[in-house]
Symmetry: C2
Subunit: 292 residues, 2 copies
């Protein structure tokens, strides 16, 4: 008996879960089109749903979060201000074409550095619903999110463009010229982290990725890992200044492991959250909203 269909729908990703009366997973679809691809289909987002999870569509409530509520998504919804919790997200659900949309969050909208997220708030709510204590959350990616939670509420966050800046430096500056692909070097990554955890002068330190290579102190197939370490080391050192309480990394694979290693090098214990936080958050918001 299906109680809820949840969809984490991002710019380039689509993951859907069919959940039972206790929130347990009955079925999963992990490879649907992100909003860019889905929006370009002749039948749009509705067609994407029918294509991927058509056989689930029997009147069961559907809830979704992520960039699907952005300007290029299915319906654009206003951002919620901080602090916010699962109840606030549940009260702000937007019903559109029979689907419940979880909106995103805005930080410091009138201040010097306003910031926005769509989707990560649901993952953090999922962790808090699992009994997570709050503290600092890091969601690594093209645009990493750093978020702080306390008392079951998301209280602050910011976006750090580490992944995209890494790609721009590697592919479009002199730092990339000497790079050769390699199997991945933990040692070079850690050297980069060490160099990156200095006093903040990132624009000055990145040139070492070139000079060390010119002086044969960094092999061509280690430059990319070193540069990755420089940027992640800077990001983690800067962000960790504001760490209090537990640190939780919400992410997967090598990237999550690299962030954990960078925290460890700073003497900070960071846990990688178990998978499924987005689904867990969607369940919690749906439950608070009376959908289940």
């Amino acid at each position: 008996m299906t109680a809820l269909i949840g969809i984490d729908w991002g710019t380039t990703s689509f993951r859907a879960w069919r959940m039972g009366a206790g929130g347990e997973v009955l079925d999963t679809v992990g490879d649907g089109p992100g909003i860019l691809a889905a929006g370009a289909l002749p039948g749009g987002f509705g067609q994407a749903l029918r294509d991927r999870i058509g056989d689930w569509l029997d009147g069961t409530p559907i809830i979704t979060s992520g960039m699907i509520t952005s300007r290029n998504g299915w319906v654009e919804t206003p951002y919620l201000p901080l602090p916010l919790d699962a109840g606030a997200l549940a009260r702000s659900l937007t019903l559109h074409e029979g689907i419940h949309f979880v909106t995103g969050a805005v930080s410091d909208p009138d201040g010097p550095a306003p910031d926005v997220m769509r989707g990560e708030e649901t993952e953090i709510i999922g962790h808090l619903a699992e009994g997570g204590e709050g503290g600092l959350f890091v969601l690594p990616g093209t645009h990493s999110k750093w978020a702080w939670a306390e008392g079951g509420r998301l209280t602050a966050f910011r976006t750090v463009m580490t992944g995209e800046v890494f790609a721009a430096l590697r592919d479009h500056t002199i730092l990339g010229r000497l790079i050769q692909p390699g199997p991945g070097s933990d040692d070079a990554f850690r050297r980069g982290v060490q160099a990156g955890q200095g006093d903040g002068a990132l624009l000055a330190r990145i040139f070492s990725a070139r000079t060390l290579a010119l002086m044969d102190r960094l092999a061509p197939d280690q430059i990319a890992d070193y540069l990755s370490g420089l940027l992640i080391g800077d990001e983690v050192a800067q962000g960790a200044r504001d760490a209090s309480g537990p640190v939780t990394i919400i992410g997967r694979g090598d990237l999550a492991a690299r962030y954990q290693a960078a925290f460890t090098m700073l003497g900070i214990d960071a846990q990688i959250a178990p998978p499924g936080m987005a689904r867990r958050g969607l369940w919690e918001i749906a439950r608070m909203g009376g959908l289940t």
Copy 2:
């Protein structure tokens, strides 16, 4: 009566001066080929010289500095260690095909962030020879150089990739998507400097160039100036931590003025050096080396 021909020969620039017995300028050529273009000529660097200043070549000593002594230049010369002064550069002149080459400098060759320069050392020597007191020197550009001098000697420097990182962010990340060209906005630049002079979390702050625009708090034709301000503000705030004594900007035009404005916003008085520092440095090194 010509006493010396000096050439400041960079990757994409070539400036030559014919100087009289007191170092006074008798003639100038400012638009010759940089080393990339000159090296590609059928007759190479020699042809470039004959093409541009052939009528000066009467046996007068020729001295040159810049990337012309790099791996892609006319002759590759070893870097000199710090500290160095005009005498050390004069003693290390390399005579090759009848031309005297001033070599570059290396900082911290065995440390975690080695750094190199070719050409800027000559400009700084030029300023010191004019009676400059030393202190901090900033040479803005694609790769800015920050250098410290004391007692007539260059004692430390580092390279800051501000200009190239700006171009990579503008042209190859999401930050550039909303940019529209404009007449240049001092106000947006200053807002960026203000935002950039924070506690060092540059990777986090740059996202504001997008969010402020999304929220209609930054016009599309102001985004580029704001982003430029963010990066220069960060560079100047980080570098100024190590400022002691006078601050001298060696550069020209709008870019030098922007760096001066960023220093002013930090409460630091920075002077823009008069033009001609490279020529003045070449003269001084030639004089110390007995060429004049």
